[in-house]
């Protein structure tokens, strides 16, 4: 039998670097993808629920599970969501409504804008 030629130990360092960079990009992309608003705070739910109006004008993000649809009209839809142990009513304007159908039990990342009276109005919605 013929013997194979021995490979060179010179796997390209460049390749490794490239792979690493790709991985990082991937991770970053993924992170960005899934944490596009990594700069917004999480909504402090206990305090918010206690005095929603005191948080008016601020923006927050929440991670919620859709429970049911509470109300709907041409302007938008209000969903009952569960943010941890706390139920939360989130208004989703029509223009913010995603392409996909929001269903019960979905885990969503929502950026919120609190109105003057403290109502949680979604600005972006992303599925997890």
């Amino acid at each position: 039998m013929a013997r194979r030629r021995k490979s060179s130990p010179h796997v390209s360092l460049f390749s490794l670097v490239m792979v690493g960079a790709l991985l990082v990009a991937l991770v970053a992309g993924i992170w960005k993808l899934y944490n596009p608003h990594g700069a917004k705070e999480l909504l402090p739910l206990p305090a918010y629920l206690e005095a929603p109006a005191s948080f008016s004008g601020n923006s927050y993000r929440v991670e919620v599970v859709v429970i049911n649809r509470l109300a709907q009209n041409e302007k938008g839809t209000t969903y009952t969501c569960a943010a941890g142990e706390h139920p939360l009513a989130i208004i989703v304007p029509q223009e913010v409504m995603p392409q996909y159908r929001i269903e019960k039990g979905q885990l969503l990342y929502i950026d919120l804008r609190l109105s003057n009276d403290g109502a949680a109005i979604a600005t972006t919605i992303a599925k997890k």
Binding site: P52, A71, P87, A89, I91, D117, A120, I121
Partner: protein, 677 residues
């Protein structure tokens, strides 16, 4: 006292002598020796045509003295020489008979109702049902026993007297026209005088004896007057003889020869005859007139005595002293033994005492008397028979009737005392029974009615029993209506029925008891209504429910309160349903739902303790839910819609079935959406 007795006996025997003396019947019959002189009578009639004419052989005077019971004056036809001596001494008996006749004249009897009608005054009274009759009858029933003992002694003496006067037929009139013999008359007269002093005779026997004496005196006086008339008759006869001689002398032929040739001889003869006979004629006329007067006086006295005696007999009869009537009749026959027994009376008395209009005579009076005595005796016998069979009611009536007829009869006077007491007790019990009916004391009336039925076998208890039953039934019926009205709450009707019951039977024992209870009931009703009002004001539904029956009865006639009561009970029912529903929910493990169930009702009825307790209990078993919901309501109330929505959602989290939370959250969400720009 011997002297008095001797005087009486002497008087009596002299009276007997007078009675038995030959009283000339033909007082005015001319003696035979003068019958040949017929002309003297014609001469007297021619000379004195107005002279009284006296018939012979007859005691009736054509001069006709009129003697009436009410008119005791003896009047002739207005002729001279008619004596009127003793005309005004008619006696009290005649006046009494007149008074009795006058009274009887105005009375009419109605046998249908036993009523007597006074046509003069228009008064009507029942013969057996008036106070006077009752009083006399009860006095008779209450007569003392000791007094009866003494009375029986008197009655025995009276009977003995009757035996002497009517020896063969006691209680019947004598078998002879002239009555008993002289000896019996004498003894009877003595006994009569003795009886007159007896307390039970009341002097009646003395009156009879006095009347006998008066009659005998009148008879004696009559005899004397007739004796004088006889003397006058002899004188008249003598004068007529002398008259005859004188007339003969002047009319004879011995003196005519000497005067034969003288002219006017006949005329002179007549004149001389008249002149010579005139004194004799005058004397004869005078004597005849005197004689007629004495005869008239004699007859008048006798007639007066007869009238008095007859009046006494009639009076005794009307007084129902029948034994004395028989005594008087026997003496009448003896004293006036002239066969003239007709009793003169007038008017109603005559009608009453006469039989079919026949003349009333002594015999008739005796017959009536014995008939009355027989009635009395039979009446008493029938009463005794009735008493033996306890027929008290009939016995009482018969005894009263018999008493009315024969009060003084021995059979009546000796009626047994114990029977009198029994009848008296019966009368009193009956009077009390009717009085009890009158005053509407039906309990007492019933007792007396039962007593009367026990006392008398012929007593009809039905009238009183019917009256009692009717009143009791009526009264009890009114009371029943009153009770119904009380139950229905109609106080006005209740009071009216109670009053009607009291009117019918004032002493109804159920009245006192029932009326009190009914008034208590009304007091209770008033109290119940007041309590109901208080509970309604306090919304104490449980308190109302606890006295549901009482309040229902109390508001029976109050429509408004009925509705209030009904509403309160419905509210309580709602509460109970909610509690029951909550209990079921809690039993299924849903305390939150249970709380919701009762909490909603408790907001309507915040004072119900049971409800509040349930709310509290379920709250403690679902605290998170209750807290969330309450806070959500509070936030919503404050206009904090966002907070409210989230709190409702939190409540839903604890109790997904909470409709309020769901609806409220949805509603608020819609509001939020509508505000979205």
């Amino acid at each position: 006292m011997p002297n008095t007795s001797i005087s009486i006996v002497a008087l009596w025997f002299s009276a007997i002598a007078v009675v038995n003396a030959q009283i000339p019947r033909t007082v005015l019959q001319l003696p035979k020796e003068v019958t040949g002189i017929a002309k003297p009578q014609a001469a007297v009639q021619a000379a004195l045509p107005e002279a009284p004419k006296v018939d012979s052989n007859n005691q009736n005077l054509t001069v006709a003295p009129v003697i009436n019971p009410g008119n005791t004056t003896v009047n002739s036809s207005g002729q001279a020489g008619s004596p009127t001596g003793g005309g005004n001494t008619g006696g009290q008996g005649s006046e009494t008979e007149s008074a009795v006749a006058d009274k009887l004249r105005n009375l009419e009897f109605d046998p249908a109702g036993d009523n007597v009608i006074d046509t003069k005054r228009g008064a009507v009274w029942n013969v057996f049902d008036n106070r006077m009759v009752d009083a006399r009858f009860e006095r008779y029933l209450n007569l003392d026993a000791a007094e009866r003992k003494r009375q029986e002694v008197y009655l025995a003496s009276l009977n003995q007297l009757l035996q002497l006067l009517c020896p063969k037929n006691p209680y019947r009139f004598s078998t002879t026209l002239t009555g008993p013999d002289r000896d019996s008359l004498g003894r009877s007269y003595n006994l009569l005088r003795t009886l007159g002093d007896n307390e039970f005779d009341h002097g009646v026997s003395t009156i009879i004896a006095n009347e006998v004496d008066a009659a005998n005196a009148a008879a004696a006086n009559r005899k004397e007057l007739y004796a004088e008339a006889e003397k006058l008759e002899k004188e008249i006869q003598h004068l007529e003889w002398n008259l005859g001689i004188t007339i003969d002398r002047h009319t004879s032929d011995l003196g005519e020869d000497r005067d034969r040739a003288r002219p006017g001889r006949e005329a002179n003869k007549a004149v001389n005859t008249t002149s010579a006979s005139a004194p004799y004629v005058r004397k004869i006329a005078k004597a005849q007139a005197l004689q007629a007067g004495k005869v008239a006086q004699a007859e008048a006295k006798l007639l007066l005595a007869k009238g008095d005696f007859q009046a006494l007999q009639v009076q005794l009869f009307t007084q129902r002293r029948f034994q004395h009537v028989l005594i008087a009749c026997a003496y009448y026959r003896s004293v006036f033994a002239d066969g003239e027994l007709q009793i003169k009376t007038e008017g109603k008395l005559k009608e009453v005492l006469s039989l079919s209009g026949a003349p009333l005579t002594v015999s008739t009076l005796e017959s009536l008397t014995t008939e009355a005595i027989r009635e009395g005796r039979e009446g008493v016998n029938s009463v005794k028979n009735m008493m033996g069979t306890k027929r008290l009611q009939s016995a009482e009536k018969r005894l009263m009737e018999t008493y009315s007829i024969g009060e003084h009869l021995p059979e009546m006077q000796t009626f047994p005392e114990d029977w009198r007491s029994t009848i008296l007790s019966f009368r009193q019990a009956r009077r009390e029974a009717f009085k009890a009916i009158e005053v509407k004391d039906y309990t007492r009336a019933k007792e007396k009615n039962a007593l009367l039925s026990e006392m008398a076998s012929d007593y009809d208890h039905a009238p009183i029993h019917a009256a009692i039953s009717s009143a009791e039934s009526g009264s009890n019926l009114h009371l029943a209506k009153a009770r119904n009205a009380a139950i229905a709450g109609d106080k006005a009707t209740m009071e009216g029925e109670v009053k009607a019951a009291a009117v019918l039977w004032p002493q109804n024992p159920a009245l006192a008891e029932g009326a009190g209870k009914m008034m208590e009931r009304f007091d209770l009703q008033v109290q119940s209504l007041q309590e109901l009002d208080r509970l309604l004001a306090a919304s104490d539904l449980r308190g109302i429910e606890a006295k549901r029956e009482v309040f229902s009865a109390a508001v029976a006639t109050d429509e408004a309160r009925q509705q209030q009561l009904r509403a309160a009970l419905n509210q309580l029912l709602e509460i109970e349903k909610a509690l029951e529903r909550a209990k079921e929910l809690d039993g299924r493990g849903s305390a939150a739902e249970a709380w919701v169930s009762v909490e909603g009702v408790s907001r309507q009825y915040p004072k119900d303790p049971k409800l509040l307790a349930a709310v509290s209990e379920y709250r403690s078993r679902a605290p998170e839910f209750v807290k969330s919901l309450l806070e959500a309501r509070k936030a919503e109330g404050h206009g904090q819609a966002v907070c409210a929505i989230n709190l409702y959602l939190l409540a839903l989290k604890h109790n997904l079935a909470c409709e309020e939370a769901q609806e409220s959250a949805t509603r608020l969400a819609h509001q939020q959406l509508s505000l979205l720009n």
